[in-house]
Amino acid sequence: MSELALIIEDDEDLANIFAEALRGIGYTVEHAADGKIAQERLRNGTAPYLILLDMHLPHISGANLLAEIKQDERFAKTTIIITTADARMGETYGDQTDFVLIKPISFVQLRDLTNRLKPKG
């Protein structure tokens, strides 16, 4: 069974590219197109193996979602990757997450990183 990755990203094209990168190396991909959808999905669905979190989202900001994720025991084992265009924001939240990717994010870069993150064996 393949690992579940949740992509929280409001830009359709970027979400599509990220999804292709992750699918290509065997992840099962779910997509949340704004903060509100993401919040519902996080509260009600199963905990993903990996979350790709855009900080700049409509309705509910990435920072709020991140705070919620950090408080929820269910996500203790989830790897969180922040994606943002703002380098300063990356610095601010760098300590609370596993990885920070500053946009523009390369397809190859994301694919190689998430490939390394897959469970061994």
Partner: protein, 567 residues
């Protein structure tokens, strides 16, 4: 008594003629006085005594005649000529002497010596040489009298007269010479004093004009200007400061700056900036403060006197409210545009990569090459947008330096990670070294240092067609370290060296365009280096290569200059 003193005083500085006239007046006064006494005495004798009445009346008439003569000569002296009056006086004296006694006494008796007086006086009243003339006249007079009474002329007396004339001539001559010299000295002294006085008057009036002009300039400047002494007491402020700060001038002038910055209209953050300026003594140019609704730009400069002694500070406040608003709008605009541009560009980049990586099936070489070109051009565009965003942030004073501990080895490691491929794509060698004297860790903003390194190396790769690019981190001195990026590229013409750091300025437009430059990189580096209290310079030789050398403080207490601009 005072008048008498003045009457008897003869100033040596008086012109010759005036001096002589005055001497004559004194003598006339003396003679007149004696005559009046003689008149009074003879009248008294005539009234009280019967003896010698004939002789006494003779003395009376003689004295009256003398008095009249004195008055006539005084009038001549006063109204006409001093020389004529003196001549008349001397002749008059001779005449009086000739008739005051019996001819025998005049020729060789008691009155004879009276004749020496006009000879001596002539040398003083007329001219030194005229004593000889009067010696002659006197000789003629006494010889004539002697002959008329049957005496032979008194030759020893005549020789004596001429000897006296000689002595008088000598002494009067040397006296006149001494007076002439004294007068010449006086004259030149007067001239010097006059010149000095004139010069002083001119410089005073010039200074008054200058002061007036400076005051007029100060008064008509639209910016608010306050001049502080070394203790930060405001000694001077121009009227514009009233309009800019909206407070009475009395709250500014004669007050200490620390009092002024306690004013409630000043935003707390701005107060801290001004306090820091006073405490650090540093004078950054044009930082901003918030004064109630206004944004003011503050420029401070040290004031030095002629001896290069610091005598205080002058601060210029400019109303920057409108400009600040425009800047804010501009930076917001650029921020939004950049974000909106970057997202679709990221998508283009991603899709191109997917083509290249053959995500949707195999691609031939040409297709891969095309995808590669799409990626490269997109990256160029992204680079441009990043530079524009940095520039906009820098102009808005929003770009800040976050100092923390940086490991020098990390800097080079990530530089190689980012740039090795670009270098090898052009068959260039990217090498680096760390000066063993340089500490392993130092203070700096890792992201900004990385940005500077990547930018410089990127530039070097762009302008180098063969050879290598070398990066060196070194210890500059006790307090500064340095970054040197050198290449074996085409070099920069000397005439262009001094403006390569200007915003949007490029050396040789055509060459740069073909290499994908956009003229912001070096300007941003220079501004970043400035924010870090560092310096950048460039050495270059056409055809041999260029070297960019940056020096930075080893340990900076949270980059002060970055804070200044961050309003």
């Amino acid at each position: 008594m005072d008048y008498f003193d003045r009457f008897l005083t003869i100033s040596t500085a008086d012109p010759d003629d005036a001096r002589k006239r005055k001497i004559l007046n004194i003598l006339l006064a003396g003679t007149g006085g004696v005559s009046i006494l003689a008149v009074l005495l003879s009248i008294y004798l005539l009234a009280t005594s019967q003896e010698d009445r004939g002789e006494t009346s003779l003395i009376l008439w003689g004295s009256i005649a003398t008095l009249v003569g004195v008055l006539v000569i005084y009038a001549v002296n006063y109204f006409w000529s001093g020389r004529v009056a003196a001549f008349l006086f001397l002749v008059f004296l001779n005449t009086v002497f000739a008739f005051t006694d019996t001819p025998e006494q005049v020729v060789s008796g008691r009155t004879f010596f009276y004749f020496t007086i006009p000879i001596f006086m002539a040398s003083i009243l007329l001219s030194p040489v005229s004593s000889f003339i009067f010696a002659g006249i006197t000789s003629v007079i006494i010889s004539t009298i002697a002959v008329s009474i049957g005496f032979s002329p008194n030759s020893p007396a005549i020789i004596g007269f001429f000897l006296l004339a000689f002595v008088s001539w000598l002494s009067a001559r040397s006296l006149e010479q001494a007076l002439d010299e004294l007068r010449a000295i006086n004259l030149s002294l007067d001239r010097v004093v006059a010149e000095r006085t004139q010069a002083l008057a001119e410089s005073l009036s010039r200074e008054r004009i200058e002061t007036g002009r400076s005051q007029a300039i100060l008064n008509s400047i639209a910016d608010g200007v306050i001049v502080f002494d070394k203790e930060w007491n405001a000694t001077l402020a121009n009227p514009s400061i009233r309009g800019i700060l909206d407070i009475p001038l009395e709250l500014v002038v004669q007050k200490n700056f620390r009092e002024l910055i306690e004013h409630p209209r000043l935003a707390p953050r701005s107060r801290q900036l001004l306090i820091a300026m006073i405490d650090h003594g540093t004078q950054p140019v044009g930082f901003r403060i918030e004064w109630s609704e206004k944004t003011l730009s503050v420029s401070a400069a040290q004031v030095y006197d002629n001896q290069r002694q610091n005598i205080g500070t002058v601060i210029v406040f400019r109303d920057f409210t409108r400009e600040a608003e425009v800047e804010r709008l501009k930076s917001t605009f650029v921020g939004i545009v950049s974000h909106e541009l970057r997202t679709p560009l990221n998508a283009i980049l991603g899709y191109a990569e997917m083509f290249k990586e053959a995500v949707y099936g195999p691609m031939n070489d040409k297709q891969v090459n095309m995808a590669d070109r799409i990626m490269k051009n997109t990256q160029r565009l992204l680079g441009l947008i990043n530079d524009l965003l940095d520039q906009a942030q820098m102009e808005a004073g929003k770009l800040t330096i976050h100092a923390q501990i940086v490991k020098t080895a990390d800097l080079l490691e990530s530089l190689h990670g980012l740039m090795d491929k670009s270098a090898s794509d052009k068959s260039l060698k990217l090498t680096s070294e760390i000066d063993p004297a340089l500490p392993d860790s130092l203070t700096g903003d890792p992201a900004r240092l990385q940005q500077i390194l990547v930018n410089l190396v990127n530039n070097a790769i762009k302008f180098t067609d063969q050879g290598s690019i070398h990066v060196r981190l070194f210890l500059h001195d006790n307090s500064r370290w340095g970054i040197e990026v050198s290449d074996t590229g085409q070099g920069i013409p000397e005439s262009e060296l001094h403006f390569i750091f200007d915003t949007f300025r490029q050396v040789d437009g055509a060459a740069t365009r073909s290499r994908g430059g956009f003229g912001l990189g070096l300007s941003i580096i220079k501004q970043l280096v400035g924010l870090m209290n560092g310096e950048i310079r460039v050495q270059s030789k056409l055809g041999e290569g260029s070297a960019f050398i940056i020096t930075l403080p080893l340990f900076s207490p949270e980059g002060i200059s970055a804070k200044w601009r961050n309003t």
